[in-house]
């Protein structure tokens, strides 16, 4: 059991390092897109460790406790995440629903802490984050229902193995409409434009993050990187056939994140009601169509 916990913690740390590096490389990619030179690829690490070393202000115990709960919840979620078919801390218990709901503990901790700061911008940011969550989660879950129904399992590594077995395509190809919905929902999940309404630095001063500085902000940055790691890995395992080895995982991970980042950088920001309207229109219709085609008619590519 101790070994499993250590492996899980290793996965969480690996996820943090991986996502922070990938994000740094992506800053360079975007810079080249905009004809700039861009920062060093390890700039994100410098930012986080600088923040962790600074002295900060605190707005009371709930402000600190929320940050601890947020980071703790996200580390716990990441510990269940399989990397490849073999590297998984708690084999058999990497249930999809754990990722959706345990990640919510972390989100709740962050929302609590942000509201506890007493800044209205933070509350507006939390409101927008929760509303965005209501928007993207339903189409996503309908697609996942289809995937679980077809593969007969909600375990991420088993879903990955199902796609790798002979005769089955990746679900991104097998369920083309669902794959597109999954990608759009992933953009909402990791807060990329046009769905980054709840961060909106120029409008509500970074929303939930407005009051943070020093170690609290550093910890929330770590939390954010691990959250992105969890969500992108979810996509890799659910739609892109999982990973037989760590190299394939890295390639798929980098490809997904970079594609999302590129799409994000040519878009503006939607208003929050537009986000809700958008997700409950085309993605939901596509997800339901896909589910009906795949479950009731059995047409899977």
């Amino acid at each position: 059991m101790l070994l499993n916990i250590l492996i899980g913690f290793g996965v969480a740390v690996f996820g943090f390092v991986l996502q922070t590096s990938v994000a740094g490389v992506n800053r360079k990619v975007i810079a080249r897109l905009q004809k700039r030179y861009g920062p060093k690829w390890y700039q994100e690490f410098i930012d986080i460790f600088k923040l962790l070393s600074k002295r900060a202000t605190s707005h009371g115990w709930i402000f600190d406790f929320g940050v601890i709960m947020a980071l703790g919840g996200i580390i716990a979620t990441a510990m269940f995440m399989p990397l490849t078919n073999n590297i998984v801390a708690f084999a058999g218990y990497d249930n999809f629903f754990i990722f959706v709901y345990l990640i919510a503990v972390g989100m709740l901790g962050m929302a609590m802490s942000a509201s506890g700061s007493g800044n209205p911008y933070a509350s507006i940011g939390v409101m927008r984050a929760l509303t965005t969550m209501l928007a993207y989660e339903v189409p996503f879950m309908v697609v996942i229902l289809t995937i679980i129904k077809i593969s007969g399992s909600s375990s991420l590594s088993l879903i990955g193995a199902f796609q790798q077995s002979a005769g089955n395509n990746w679900f991104f190809i097998a369920l083309p409409l669902g794959g597109i919905v999954g990608l759009i929902c992933l953009m909402g999940m990791i807060g990329k434009k046009p769905f980054e309404t709840y961060i909106a630095p120029a409008e509500i001063a970074s929303g939930p993050m407005v009051e943070y500085g020093g170690k609290q902000l550093g910890m929330l940055f770590i939390m954010h990187e691990i959250t992105v790691f969890i969500e992108v890995s979810l996509f890799v395992h659910l739609f892109l056939g999982g990973a037989e080895n760590i190299f394939l995982f890295l390639v798929k991970y980098f490809a997904v994140y970079t594609v999302l980042n590129l799409i994000s950088n040519v878009n503006g920001r939607l208003k929050i009601d537009q986000v809700v309207k958008f997700y409950y229109k085309w993605p939901l219709i596509m997800a339901v169509t896909q589910a009906i085609i795949a479950i009731y008619f059995g047409w899977v590519v």
Binding site: F9, G60, I75, A111, L130, L134, V138, L145, A205, I292
Partner: protein
């Protein structure tokens, strides 16, 4: 030796005792209610878990009782909520006009609940049902509004009479009021009629769409300590009746082969789904914290209905567990709100803010309750929602799954509102002097919080008990649980709740170590925040709590009043028909009356002359 009859008689006697004791001293009278309910809870648990509860009847002629695991499960949950809430009485009864009646009716309604869950006779079920409705009807108007009781009674009476209709049909068929014989005798059209009438009764009690209008009115205006009972305990009576109808009556209807469900049950599941969506959307809009929780009860009633209409053992286990998890969560949340109302005098979110600094324990109680209510691990609500999801996905119910997922995510939105508006945010100057809730109120709240965590971390014991209920409902396989390994097996995965909780604890410890190792922060006041260079000196202006989800609410504000409009229109139509009848038959002109007399005589004598 405890018999059911003895417990009921004991409660009736205790209710009269508390009536007279409260007249002399309200504190002592409230203590009587605490001891009476605790006694009932302890004897129910002690004898109920071992199935040694005596069913013999000595003093009540004509009454018969039967021991079922289903009845015990419900009775223990309800008795638990009653006993926990009774700890609030010493602080609240003095606010009410008829405090002795309050204590008496409280205990009498518990007697009614026990009778309803343990009876094996339909006429008795109806009698105890009415006992609960009548006692509750006089309890609700002691709160904020008298008209709330009218709404409650209207819907409850509609449900009761629908049930009576079904009972009488069965009496005609079977010749007795026995529950098993009555349900077994049904076939053809009668089965459909009884099914529909029992569903109406269950929906009216549970507050499920479209019979939900009374729920926010009654919950929101009931006395503060009675709202947890209404939401956590009494609406579960509706679930009890709905289970009778959904599981034990099979009306003739065609099977939908794609999802393996009878058409009738699919329609009920759709109504449950509508209830989830409607309850969630209305809860997001609500300003009063108690009404918000009432709408959340409606949404959770929808989950229970969906679970029991799937005719599947995993879904049933999920439904039963949800009944328990929601009873605990909603009792905890309502009690925390009651404690806040006791100290501040209001439950409106727009008037409160920042009381976490003065009432931290109440805050933690509310936090744990809403984590369970939103179905987030490591609390009990997650287990039940996981089981229900398993069944919904296994059957491939796409449209119901949309509602189920929407309600699940939507619950994050509405439960967060009171958290942010009441407890967090700026500390209002008028609440800077309030104190934490008194110790007698904290005891039940802490117990409920611990149970909320227990049901999420170690669900196997309770699921083992639910496995004893499942055979009573028909030929359903027990849920696969592995008690030494603490795992639950669903259709498409294995859940290890203890592992999840343990890993979560590990994560929090790691985060705490990181936090404590780094430099200590400087404490600043709540007003010391970034305001984009505006100078703001009043706390209210920096507290964002009114119309929290305004952009989202705007998307459905035109549709929000659709059901109240429907009932208003219905009431108008009834009035119009009454006016027409009055105009036609009760005219002040003699000749009109003579005309009707002649016309009716002519009609009656048609063909005779």
């Amino acid at each position: 030796m405890a018999s059911i009859e003895f417990l009921i008689l004991f409660l009736v006697l205790a209710s009269f005792l508390s009536y007279f004791v409260t007249k002399i001293n309200s504190f002592a009278g409230s203590i009587v209610t605490i001891f009476a309910t605790m006694f009932v809870l302890v004897s129910l648990s002690a004898y109920g878990f071992n199935a040694t509860l005596d069913t013999t009847v000595l003093y009540l002629p004509g009454f018969t009782f039967e021991f079922t695991y289903l009845g015990v499960y419900f009775a223990i949950i309800v008795a638990f909520v009653y006993s926990m809430v009774s700890f609030f009485h010493p602080y609240f009864v003095d606010h009410y006009k008829y405090k002795n009646a309050y204590n008496m009716l409280f205990l009498l309604s518990l007697a009614g609940v026990l009778g309803a869950f343990f009876t094996n006779n339909f006429m008795q079920l109806f009698f105890f049902f009415e006992l609960i409705v009548w006692t509750t009807m006089f309890l609700i108007p002691l709160g904020k509004s008298k008209s709330a009781a009218v709404s409650y009674f209207g819907f409850s009476a509609a449900g009761s009479f629908a049930m009576l209709f079904g009972i009488l049909i069965m009496f005609k068929e079977a010749g007795s009021f026995d529950i098993t014989a009555g349900l077994a005798s049904l076939s053809g059209t009668n089965a459909i009629l009884v099914f529909v009438s029992f569903i109406i009764a269950g929906f009216a009690k549970l507050g499920v769409f479209p019979l939900h209008i009374w729920l926010p009115i009654a919950h929101g205006n009931a006395p503060h300590p009675f709202s947890p009972v209404l939401s956590g305990a009494l609406v579960k009576l509706g679930a009890f009746v709905a289970i009778l109808a959904l599981v034990r009556i099979s009306p003739a209807s065609s099977m939908i082969t794609a999802i393996g469900l009878p058409f009738a049950h699919y329609i009920i599941a759709l109504l449950g789904a509508a209830s989830i969506v409607f309850g969630t959307l209305m809860a997001i809009k609500e300003d009063d914290a108690k009404k918000l929780l009432a709408y959340s009860s409606m949404s959770h009633g929808g989950y229970i209905i969906v679970a029991f209409s799937l005719l599947d053992s995993v879904a049933f286990a999920g439904g039963f567990y949800h009944i328990l998890a929601h009873a605990l969560a909603s009792a905890g949340a309502f009690m925390a709100i009651a404690a806040v109302a006791h100290r501040t005098g209001t439950t409106k979110m727009s008037e409160l803010g920042g009381i976490i600094h003065k009432m931290p324990i109440t805050y933690v109680v509310y936090l744990v309750a809403i984590i369970s209510m939103a179905g987030i691990p490591p609390m009990g609500g997650f287990i039940s929602k996981w089981l229900i999801f398993q069944a919904v996905i296994d059957k491939g119910l796409i449209f119901i799954s949309i509602a189920v997922f929407f309600g699940s995510i939507g619950s994050f939105l509405y439960v967060f509102r009171p958290l942010a508006a009441l407890f967090l945010g700026q500390e209002f100057p008028q609440f800077k002097k309030i104190k934490e809730a008194p110790i007698l109120m904290l005891i039940p709240m802490v117990i409920i919080t611990l149970l909320n965590i227990y049901t999420g971390v170690f669900p196997n014991g309770i699921l083992g008990f639910i496995n004893k209920i499942l055979p009573e409902l028909g030929n359903y396989a027990p849920l696969v649980i592995n008690s030494p390994a603490l795992t639950i097996t669903g259709y498409n995965g294995v859940l290890h709740p203890t592992l999840i909780a343990g890993v979560f604890g590990f994560g929090v410890v790691v985060a705490f170590i990181i936090f404590i190792l780094l430099k200590k922060s400087r404490q600043v006041g709540l007003m010391d925040t970034y305001t984009a260079a505006n100078f703001i000196h009043t706390e209210e202006l920096l507290h964002y709590s009114v119309d929290f989800y305004a952009p989202l609410e705007r998307l459905y504000e035109k549709q929000a009043t659709i059901m109240t409009d429907f009932y208003d229109a219905l009431a108008n139509k009834v009035k119009e028909i009454g006016k027409l009848a009055k105009y036609l038959f009760m005219s002040k002109y003699v000749e009109v009356s003579v005309f009707w007399i002649v016309a009716i005589l002519a009609f009656l004598l048609w063909g005779e002359i």
